[in-house]
Amino acid sequence: MNGLGVIVLERIIVKPSEKVEPVYGTVTVKRGFARMQKGGVIMDVTNVEQAQTAEEAGAVAVMVLDKLPADVRKAGGVARMCDVKIIEEVMDHITIPVMAKCRIGHYMEARVLEAIGVDMIDESEVLTPADEHHHINKWEFKVPFVNGARNLGEALRRIAEGASMIRTKGEAGTGNVAEAVRHVKEVMGRIRELQSMNDEQLLDVARELKVPFELVKETALLGRLPVVNFAAGGIATPADAALMMHLGCDGVFVGSGIFKSDDPLERAKAIVMATTFWDDPETVAEACKMVVEKKSMSGVDIKTLKPEELMQTRGQ
């Protein structure tokens, strides 16, 4: 008996009058949305034209911002949620999902973004935090959230608050991939440690990280975060994107890297190609040939930034 008998091939008769009631905003559909983004590139854009370029290049989603992170860094002052009109305009012109950022802890920016119908909200350290001590309780929302994290504690605390997706914080707007590398290795190294622990030790970790034991246990059993985990913060070239996939990320966010370069469409296509074929160096090489290093955004060495200029220390 091979069990194929479970497939009933005799059709039953259904009354067409039965109306089914849908359930919205469940954990399955929120985390499921993030799963559909896996293996893809999510691109920061500031207007419809850039969003259409991103779609044409094969982006899985766009993140609409008022200013690209590199410009946020340059402009200084308070960085807030993007103009709602611009987000709506982008939503009206492309078929792929549209995401937008709200300030850490800013419930009303999040409610506004949910009300206009963005597909995912990034509660982001790139904007100036509205609450120095708390993140949004994301369980209250039907729209899924993505949050940044530098280490396992931050990642699990955000998941415990209801985040449906995690990304490394990296150091946004620098064009320097080093911090994103550090953050993903922090998270994954710590998870590998969890895998060899017994419950008693996992309880200690739960206390140390200030997260529920069940979440630590689930992470240890899965050997990975229980939600999709993307790379972000400083990815500027096809090789950077391939590196983050090689390190085990589920996909990448590219912020300033594309539209602060002088060859956005070619670069966007090349980064998509390098992300998909990261495990085939010949194809990554082909992707690298599509861009000119001289046209890459000029980077910032993180060591030259003052502590107060770092975005990654916001929202722990």
Partner: protein, 207 residues
């Protein structure tokens, strides 16, 4: 009793819910007590190895563009020579002969155009309108199938040899045409293996 042949099936591995389908197929083979292997498919060589294929959910524009150059023509040939394929969500869009977007209207994107059906992208709206609902799929028996709809399309109409397998409030959400299966919902996110089992059964029929 004749020993069952080894089953090699693949999941198209450009983008989207690949690991979820791999896991579901591995569980299916195990439950059915079948010897087999689940491969991820990104190259022509990998495609030649498999006897059945899943095209997962994800972004249909992205998967379409990435597969257009090399794999798409070969997938079309394999489908024509009878390889069973299950397409879910984005996979259904790629398999449809005609596609348009509910809001934007006509869209230009590479398609496989394997099935006689017209798909409407983003029919229910954006992520906020994503939902779960139990479905009746007569082919799979009385037990309702847990439907997970994420920015889901619907099938506006089927013609020719395509046949609707299930509807949700009057809209077609699952279609079969010969050995080709397509759903607008995500069986890989549901704890229900009946559709994957049905795909494996179709694959066994070809061996």
């Amino acid at each position: 009793m004749k020993a069952l042949p080894e089953v090699k099936v693949g999941v198209l591995n450009f983008q989207g819910a690949v690991s979820e389908h791999v896991e579901a197929l591995n569980k299916t083979l195990k439950e059915l007590n079948l010897k087999g292997q689940v491969l991820t498919v990104k190259t022509l060589e990998q495609l030649e190895e498999v006897k059945g294929l899943v095209i997962p959910g994800g972004e249909s524009t992205t998967i379409g563009r990435l597969s257009a150059k090399e794999l798409a023509p070969r997938i079309v040939e394999r489908a024509a020579s009878g390889m069973p394929i299950l397409g879910t969500c984005a996979g259904l869009i790629l398999m449809a002969k005609e596609v348009y977007d509910a809001k934007i209207g006509s869209v230009e994107q590479p398609l496989l155009r394997l099935m006689d059906m017209k798909a409407v992208r983003n029919f229910f709206g954006r992520q906020g309108e994503s939902f779960e609902a139990p479905l009746t799929i007569p082919l799979l028996g009385r037990e309702p199938f847990p439907g997970v709809f994420i920015r889901a399309p619907v099938v506006e109409k089927v013609w020719g040899e395509a046949e609707a397998l299930a509807t949700y409030n009057g809209k077609i959400v699952a279609v079969q045409q010969g050995r080709l299966l397509a759903t607008v919902f995500h069986p890989e996110l549901a704890e229900d293996l009946r559709l994957h089992k049905y795909l494996i059964k179709l694959v066994l029929d070809t061996l």
